[in-house]
Amino acid sequence: MTAARASFLSAAALLAARDLRLALRRAGDSLLPLGFFLVITTLFPLSLDPSLSLLRDIAPAALWVGALLSSLLAVDLLFRDDGQDGTLEQLALCGQPFAGLLLAKTVVHWCLTGLPLVLVAPMAATALGAPTGAMPGILVAVLLGTIALSLIGAVGAGLTLTLRRNGSLLALLVLPLAVPVLIFGARASALAIAGESPAAPLYLLAAFAVLAATLAPWALAAAVRIGLE
């Protein structure tokens, strides 16, 4: 019965397919963070004086606070089910590089919770009064930002794996690392809205995302292994 061993890539692809299939069967879970983002970004214009100029000033803040809170909400989904039904430890024991598998899970998670934000951000930004010329800058910023936030959030979720659902501790752990993303992202968005070049903060955001992508696999594997003890 000895058929060929699966390569890491085919295993990662299979895991990604599994997670996508599961997400489709529980579509509500994945849509919640997106809904949350939309609620936050619409609350701002609703609660402010409809003078458009002020709205445009706070648009970066509204977008990014929304993105940060939405990703904090979303990251809870990442390991919750797998940790409870024992499939996470089966992943640790299947003989494939654990860090790689966890990274694959995080990528799928970003596709389900971060990518929708990227697609919706231009619309939300327009509703907040941003000019069309600002869209490319905002898009790139949200793209890089959500990637970084997913990676950072995943490490936080890994560290708090076995704890009672304590959202405030997860937020405290994630905050120091997520705030730079917020700062650079908001700065880039503000520059884009003002019609200036957002290149400088975008480069910094990209550097941060690359740093997160480099450190996260190690940190994820270490954190989850500790949680599985």
């Binding site: 599994r18 003989g95 494939q96």
Partner: protein
């Protein structure tokens, strides 16, 4: 192809759970680990998996310390814990495809045969959460032969199983050890295996 535990010591917080556990299990042998609730059977199995860190002692597989190449060691073992390690939202067939597929290529036929052998063929297309606890355990057992693993580490595999399910478990173990595989099983029920292949160790 032997698994050896040498003087394993493990603490959980204040409790000294494993106190100098030592044994050696060779090809074709099945070790039964018995003990009262809380005596450390699950902890021992997780330590053998390399999931729980040991304060003292070491576990060796094929003569080498498992900590030296944990990934390769994992590639040769199949672990069944208290949880089934299966997703409730997926069907039985899908579960086996994803679970075993991480290790090696399995065809639809392989899965169908495994499910039929486990007596849950009729439940193939039903989401796992709609099956009974016993049926879910059978699906979990069906995964084992598909993993192509030389070493089986099973924690209370017979829980939730009826008499027919226990026979299934015995069949699987017999086929595995008969083909030269190694098994360590934590259980308080007696296993039906030819006496020559079976040994037992008790924790407190």
């Amino acid at each position: 192809m032997t698994i050896t535990a040498e003087n394993l010591h493990l603490w959980r917080g204040e409790a000294h759970v494993l106190r100098g556990v030592s044994f050696s299990v060779g090809p074709g042998e099945c070790l039964q680990v018995t003990g009262a609730n809380g005596s450390g059977k699950t902890t021992l199995l997780r330590a053998l998996c390399g999931l729980a860190p040991l304060e003292e002692g070491r576990v060796s597989w094929r003569g080498a310390d498992i900590a030296a190449d944990l990934q390769a060691y994992h590639g040769e073992l199949a672990y069944l814990g208290h949880d089934n390690g299966l997703k409730g939202d997926l069907t039985a067939a899908e579960n086996l495809r994803y679970a075993a597929g991480l290790r090696r290529r399995v065809s639809r036929d392989d899965i169908a045969i495994a499910l039929a052998r486990a007596g849950v063929d009729a439940a193939r297309g039903i989401p796992l959460r709609r099956l009974s606890a016993g049926q879910r355990r059978r699906v979990a057992l069906a995964r084992l032969p598909l993993m192509d693993a030389a070493l089986w580490l099973l924690d209370e595999p017979g829980s939730n199983l009826d008499a027919a399910g226990q026979s299934l478990l015995a069949e699987l173990l017999e086929a595995h050890t008969g083909a030269g595989g190694v098994a360590v099983v934590a259980t308080h029920q007696a296993l039906e295996l030819p006496a020559g292949a079976q040994r037992s160790v008790s924790l407190q």
